[in-house]
């Protein structure tokens, strides 16, 4: 079956511009996560959605970052007024349920470069 898909695969933008990154989770998965992967820094948790519950936004690094999930499916991560330090790979993952032993399936990521 189809895995997690993300678009665009690559995004180059200028400092100060806004960007939107999209994630399509696996159909039927109720939990959705966003992580950021910077060179040599591992994966940094950003935000987590579970069903209709309020999202866990505790990992968002600043108020320039926001995310939404419409209809319990597709999610969009928005970065406003991008900075060079925002350059990273943004990974989306989904799991069938939020319990910890459920595998998180990752998409291929969106590579963001801020010039």
């Amino acid at each position: 079956g189809a895995g997690v898909s993300q678009s665009p695969s690559n995004k180059v933008t200028e400092k100060g511009k806004d960007v939107e990154l999209r994630c399509d989770p696996i159909s039927g998965h109720t939990a959705l996560y966003w992580y950021r992967q910077s060179l040599g820094q591992g994966l940094e948790f950003l935000i987590y959605f579970q069903g209709n519950s309020a999202p866990d936004k505790s990992g968002l690094p600043s108020d320039r970052f926001s995310a939404e999930r419409t209809g319990g499916s597709v999610s969009t991560l928005t970065i406003q007024r991008t900075q060079q330090e925002d350059s990273a790979v943004y990974l989306c993952a989904s799991s069938q349920s939020p319990v910890q032993q459920e595998t998180q399936y990752f998409g291929p990521g969106t590579r963001l470069l801020v010039l």
Binding site: G42, L43, L91, P98, Q104, F106
Partner: protein
């Protein structure tokens, strides 16, 4: 603050060797420890995971060893192959925070033929 510390940062072994990647944590609330494998240009994929009620788990050539008292766990790859060349991440999750994973910084493994 890095909640899961992973070492080494990079590792080079010859085919057939047994690379070992180590991780340590401080948060005693962690009770789920997965390892993810990532190939260039791809997202991470779950390789193997362990709960602290067992000290070792083996799946194929991959083994996790877990030392609860030392708060350490490690990944061993038996009979390593060039196709195992990838970046490996350890992670941990507390039962109280459903779903969220805390990742180590990754180990880039190269297996020479």
């Amino acid at each position: 603050q890095q909640q899961v510390k992973q070492s080494p940062q990079s590792l080079i072994v010859q085919k057939g060797g047994i690379p070992i990647i180590n991780c340590a944590y401080e948060n005693t609330a962690f009770d789920y420890f997965p390892w993810y494998q990532q190939f260039p240009g791809k997202g991470p994929a779950l390789l193997i995971a362990i709960r602290p009620d067992v000290s070792e788990k083996k799946e194929g050539r991959f083994t996790i060893s877990f030392n609860k008292s030392a708060k350490q766990f490690s990944l061993h790859i038996m009979d390593s192959q060039p196709g195992d060349s990838a970046t490996y991440f350890c992670a941990a999750s507390p039962g109280s925070t459903l779903g969220r994973l805390y990742f180590g910084r990754g180990t880039q493994l190269t297996v020479w033929p």
